[in-house]
């Protein structure tokens, strides 16, 4: 069964992936947040240079072993620095 999760990209992360939002699709094993991180960082190596955090359903998640469910809303948030 495929799992689909909407993703929002913020700040410099959205510059790197060149989009504000996307829909991630996973097939096979239940995906974790870390699986998503690895997939994205493989596709966009510049992301490895950025200090960013994950939120799932509007809550900051520090444990990347979290298993994703269909329709989980994921956000990738870097710290902003301008002022």
């Amino acid at each position: 069964m495929a799992i689909k999760c909407p993703i929002k990209y913020y700040g410099i992360i959205s510059d790197i992936v060149d989009m504000d939002a996307d829909l991630a699709e996973f097939t096979g094993d239940i995906p974790t947040l870390n699986d998503l991180r690895v997939t994205l960082e493989d596709a966009f190596p510049d992301m490895k240079e950025v200090n960013y955090l994950f939120a799932v359903n509007q809550t900051l998640i520090s444990d990347l072993t979290l298993e994703l469910k269909d329709n989980d809303e994921i956000a990738l948030l870097p710290a902003f620095s301008g002022g």
Binding site: L60, S62, F80, S81, G82, G83
Partner: protein, 356 residues
């Protein structure tokens, strides 16, 4: 007789005369007099915040004028804080404004923060944000944060009533490639102005004790899409401890705190005092052992773990065989934020000589 300036806000039942009194008594420090700092300052001054500090070492540049409305062409090259004070003092002469024409650094941070009750982060670099966060933790005062990236803004309040800190949201990373300030990345003037007004709103809510402060919530705004989102985050004790440790280390360095020495003749008086935390840092095979009950035997490898719940102002007495290791260990503990560290200057061997 009281002037009418604040009548419209006093009319709000949440504020009233007593609320206005709180605003008048408040002491708020605004760090940064740029895109965020200008609207923060203008709004706090207009609301009648009685005591405002403004910190910035920068001078006015022509590229500031499209978003920093306190400054004009004639001000180019002048210190921002001096111009800002002159302008807002005309807006509301009753407000006491202290200016600090320097950047906020390890060297001046504690002196500037002094007895201000709220820090407002209007800077454009994350290194200063960590410093501000850590000082706010040591002083146990809240920090109102905002920051922008191109068309996006972030807003939150840290260390409010022991809530989460900047480090809980963004743990410090050695990699600072993300540290691009808005000079490099471009900014539309309306965005910092909008965020600055919202920072002033958080400050006023904190002063008045009304509404819901953005405690443990990161507010996100995208000016292009008008998309708004709020992310919840939580206190991370490990990150908070890092912040307190760094803040205390900055303080200790400032106070020039070093490792105190204890002479062999005073050693047993000090160890007998149960208020002191006495630690034998020697390895378990080292002789001779000392018997008094108040001595903790903690080899170096276990010391950090042993001290993890110890208050940073606890008097600690370290000793080793000759006094070298205990001195180095003491210096390390001071860097970790401990402020009251002593060692037996010539080690156990000095005690033995005395007994011969």
């Amino acid at each position: 007789m009281q002037n009418k300036r604040y009548d419209k806000q006093i009319q709000l039942t949440e504020i009233g005369i007593s609320g206005q009194g709180k605003i008048t008594k408040a002491k708020v420090l605004v760090i940064g007099a740029g895109g965020l700092g200008c609207p923060v300052l203008q709004n706090l001054v207009a609301a009648g915040v009685g005591n405002i500090g403004l910190v910035d070492g920068d001078v006015v540049d022509e590229t500031n004028l499209h978003r920093q409305f306190l400054y004009t062409l004639e001000d180019i090259g002048k210190k921002k804080v001096a111009v800002a004070k002159a302008v807002v003092s005309r807006q509301n002469p009753a407000v006491n404004i202290e200016v600090y024409p320097n950047y906020f650094t390890n060297q001046n941070a504690f002196e500037i923060v002094s007895d201000y009750q709220i820090l407002v982060d209007c800077t454009d670099d994350n290194k200063t944000r960590y410093l501000m966060n850590d000082i706010a933790l040591v002083k146990n005062i809240p920090m109102v944060y905002a920051s922008i990236h191109q068309f996006e803004g972030q807003l939150s309040v840290f260390n409010y009533q022991n809530g989460p800190t900047y480090r809980c949201l963004f743990p410090e990373s050695k990699d600072l490639k993300m540290n691009i300030n808005c000079n490099d990345s471009g900014v539309l003037g309306v965005l910092p102005n909008l965020l600055g007004v919202m920072q002033a709103n958080e400050v006023l809510k904190i002063i008045l004790g009304i509404g819901e402060v953005l405690n443990g919530k990161l507010f996100l705004y995208n000016a292009l899409t008008s998309n708004i989102q709020t992310i919840n985050f939580f206190l991370n004790e490990v990150e908070k401890a890092k912040g307190i440790q760094n803040g205390l280390a900055v303080l200790n360095k400032l106070l020039n705190i070093g490792v105190g020495t204890i002479a062999s003749k005073d050693f047993f008086t000090e160890t007998a005092n149960e208020n002191n935390l006495v630690i034998d840092i020697r390895e378990t095979y080292e002789e001779p052992k000392l018997e008094p009950e108040n001595i903790n035997v903690v080899p170096l490898a276990q010391l950090e773990d042993f001290l993890k719940d110890i208050k940073r102002n606890q008097k600690i007495i370290l000793f080793c065989q000759e006094g070298n290791r205990s001195k180095l260990t003491g210096e390390y503990l001071i860097k970790k934020g401990f402020a009251n560290v002593h060692h037996l200057s010539n080690g156990i061997e000095s005690l033995l000589k005395k007994n011969i």
